[in-house]
Symmetry: C2
Subunit: 227 residues, 2 copies
Amino acid sequence: MPPSKQRARSAQDKELRSKEFLQAARELALERGVREVTLTAVTARVGLHPSALRRYYESREELLLELAEEGWSSWQAGLVSGLGDAHAVSADEAAGIISGSLEALPLFCDLLTHAVLSLEGAVRLERARRYKTAAFAAYDAMTNAMVATISGLDREGAQTVLTTAMSTAAYLFQVSRPTATLKQLYATEPRWAHDALRFREQLTALLTTVILGAQQQTRELATDPRP
Amino acid sequence: MPPSKQRARSAQDKELRSKEFLQAARELALERGVREVTLTAVTARVGLHPSALRRYYESREELLLELAEEGWSSWQAGLVSGLGDAHAVSADEAAGIISGSLEALPLFCDLLTHAVLSLEGAVRLERARRYKTAAFAAYDAMTNAMVATISGLDREGAQTVLTTAMSTAAYLFQVSRPTATLKQLYATEPRWAHDALRFREQLTALLTTVILGAQQQTRELATDPRP
């Protein structure tokens, strides 16, 4: 589409325009991976000149960080509703719910790596503060939901599980998205394919183990309180 | 230094030149982070024109993947010697040894993210195969050393611990290297700084939990064998 749209004038138009950019970035990131999203491609998809985007986002990093911030809120909604008002959820059941909440958000899983690698450090301080505030609020809400629903898990244990979930999801997601060359290689080496292409299954197994460990630490602390 | 060196002619000279490039890339990556390493900067440090490097490495990705491959071998050496010929090493002691072996290799921790994000998928198939072969050999050697030395850990448990170690180390390492803006932000928010700047401590705590969980799964499997 040729750059032909008019500049957005009203506050409402600006809000709509800003959402168009986010939607274009979202689509491109899902199609090609976050790494390949450029401002040129985003504005081309919206049908505008790259300079138009600069009135809304200072940089590619700021635009993508906005998507990461949305991702935290979606993860929180998905995980909290997945746990629901259940009680005494077992380790493997909880692991399945957590890994399912992440598998449902491939863009967020991709963004987790980019947020810490480049996005959050590349924007202005106040924008970074807004991102961190939103991410920690989601993290705390998820911690509370886990403590309330998962069997024998204290606050520290829930935080350990959550930190493991996000860091291993970030890593395993990238592993699970091989390039054409790597796919060709995996076709000749079944073990490598097996290790690379089971995102949900690997994440569930790993989180089951860490929840079991956290439950044990919670039990030990309860029966042998430190002075 | 101006580009003034002669082209390497003998096999021995070529070997030396190749090592010079690797060493320059290593230094730059440690100074600035892997993300900021460019072929121009690498050749400038060696004192050559960028075209000289292309006779040794096809791309920035191939050069950096060579460093990642070295990293696997260094991690294996460090972890295996850290575990030594001990027996029945406890969960928290083992966690400390594993996190220490990763903390000693900041360049490798940085490369872990880049290897899965961009490096291993960007080189020719045969180069990727060589990298994967080396990485899996190191992974297997470390698994064996862990099963032999850590108390009550089976092969599957050791693999879970190792996969968690590398993926959380990759993530937490990036978190622990804030930009100037993020440092400024952390100075105003002690909790964010606390969560970001304790690489070794966080990794040890998290690995202790996952080892405890893996030990429990090993015990359960031993006392309740599946049909």
